[in-house]
Subunit: 163 residues, 2 copies
DNA sequence: GAGTCGTGATTGACACGTCAACTATGCCAC
DNA sequence: GTGGCATAGTTGACGTGTCAATCACGACTC
């Protein structure tokens, strides 16, 4: 048995398309608004949020990466761009000379503080206000179910490592 | 009235985060699988799908753009990359010499045919199988509600053009 | 048929992401 | 203290996406 799984029906496929296209559109609109209102990208916002919650507004680079769930190289590239804009600064780490510490700069702190209210408002307007309380709850359950499912090793590869 | 909208509650915000992060993860896993199984990106797949459904496997460039909902410049860049890989070809358009026609190439047709079953299977495994039928229906309703809401002009800018 | 305007498509600059090297330390064994 | 290995972080190449500018042509007017 196994091997040829049943393919999605027409209805399932159209639900999938609507779902994935809508969430992409939602993300794009959020990004555009954040950019327009505050000049920050979602990446900038994530970095600044994590940084401003850290004691002393400074975090080891690899810890920052795991806080926001990024690969280190992605973070490194992004920090380079943020450093050019004076949002953050990188310092050598005292305890481990391989390491780097990321430090929030005044420019970055200001940008983040100015961004948080508009961003939260946008989330409310574009997402929360679009749904009934029941739908919002259902969205949470769907996300949880997907998250669980995607973390199952088998969902990565069904019948793919059968060598 | 108006101006200071209520900010999201802690619960709403955590639902939001779970939702948006999960859909992003889902998209990433789908992309990785498509890439791994077939060597195509989601963009490639969308272009090839539209092209292979078109009469004669050829479409005017701007029509292709509207079929898959892309900006023309995005499409132009992508077609350039696909042309380098011999997946498609661009021809001058007979009826309108400004225009270009995109033509499916054998390499592209083969790649697309080889990709469709694995891709549909991945959608089933990663998305549909993760949800109960009720959750799947709810996902469709949520997408529809969001789509409607996001198309409302006011949801783009509440109190933003109040000059 | 010259002027103007809209449309079809491409281009260049740049932000963002991934992957695969690569550098530089730390760390442990011996 | 040297060899081997893991860890921290950076870098380069390249695919992808947006924006603004540009080019070329069609269409319409006079």
């Amino acid at each position: 048995m196994a091997g040829a799984r049943k393919l999605p029906t027409r209805d399932e496929l159209s639900t999938w398309r609507e779902f994935i296209e809508t969430t992409e559109r939602l993300r794009n609109m959020l990004t555009a608004r954040l950019q327009h209102d505050t000049g920050l990208s979602p990446g900038d916002y994530a970095v600044l949020l994590a940084l401003s919650e850290a004691p002393g507004s400074r975090v080891r680079s690899s810890e920052l990466a795991s806080l926001i769930g990024w690969e280190r190289s992605r973070l490194s590239h992004h920090l380079g761009r943020m450093e050019r804009r004076r949002l953050i600064r990188r310092e050598e780490c005292a305890s481990d000379s391989r390491g780097a510490e990321v430090v929030l700069q005044p420019t970055g702190a200001d940008a983040f503080h100015a961004a948080t209210a508009p961003h939260l408002r946008a989330i409310r307007e574009l997402f929360i206000d679009a749904l009934t309380p029941e739908q919002l709850a259902a969205a949470g359950e769907i996300a949880a179910a997907l998250q669980t499912h995607l973390s199952r090793p088998a969902s990565n590869a069904t019948e793919r490592s059968r060598t």
